[in-house]
Amino acid sequence: MSTGSIRIEVNGQTREVSGGSSVADLLEQLELDRRTVVVELNRRIVRRDDLDGAELEAGDRVELVRFVGGG
């Protein structure tokens, strides 16, 4: 397990997370509900069941999206 922090990009912003963090950890850190947020990691969707196992690496690009009002 790596220690220290790594830099990733979340919704276009640079963020630091501790090494070894999973996508689920990131959602928790951002206080986001995993039931309503969809995660794209380096352009690939991470299924809800796989959030805990998806480990973040330096330079990863994460997109967090959810439903908003629209026509």
């Binding site: 979340v10 919704n11 276009g12 912003q13 951002l30 206080e31 986001l32 509900d33 309503t36 947020v37 969809v38 794209e40 352009r43 969707i45 299924r47 809800r48 997109e63 967090l64 999206v65 959810r66 439903f67 908003v68 009002g69 629209g70 026509g71």
Partner: protein
Amino acid sequence: MSTVLEKGAERDELARVDEPLALGGRSFRSRLIAGTGKYRDSETMVAALRAAGAEIVTVAVRRVDLDASKEESLLHHLDPEEFFLLPNTAGCYTAEDAVRYARLGREAGLHDWVKLEVIGDEETLYPDVEEMLEAARTLVDEGFTVLAYTNDDLVTALKLQDAGVAAVMPLASPIGSGLGLPDPVGIRILKRRLDVPVIVDAGVGTASDACLTMEQGVDGILMNTALAAAEDPVAMAAAMRRAVEAGRLAYLAGRMPRREWAVPSSPSAGRLA
């Protein structure tokens, strides 16, 4: 006071002459599909959707705002048990983008339906039919039930049908314009030639627009701004519900022929000498 409406007789009449809307292997009572954008608050939105009698409601997929203190989820207000949430690909300009948004929408929701929109021009929001056809084919291959926003070009609509979309959704007039249905003939041609449902998407501004649109024989209407931007969205939603039903009933009833001379309604025989 007991009115006909209170007794539900008019709704029974609709049930007598009409069938449920068959769409993508499902069946819907309401022919009014409503968008969820641009409402001043969520309470007004939900009240309007209910007043409209909408079963299918569209939603968009966007980035979470990480700077917002505590964002309230749209899903907090829209119970998927009450409304069938239809994710759109609004704001996409390429097939690749639209497919990406559709996949995200599928993951965020509970099914594989998508309202496919691929825009080609910023000012008019007219569709890029080339990109849309490409996206439609990809998404149908991936098992999506695709409802495709398009213009009233018959050849494009036929290609979309061949691609396997579940519905063709021609615009009445530009998105958010409220200009109504300037070309009923174009819409009637689509309806006559297509086997898949035709749902008019965009342009309806007020109840008479919705009624006139349904009178052309189309299967339904999708509207958003007409409700959200009305001074009283809930009242307008109630009007739209009636207008869509009235237009549907009038279409099914079969209107009298037009003629350019008068024909008296009262008998000419028996007049006083």
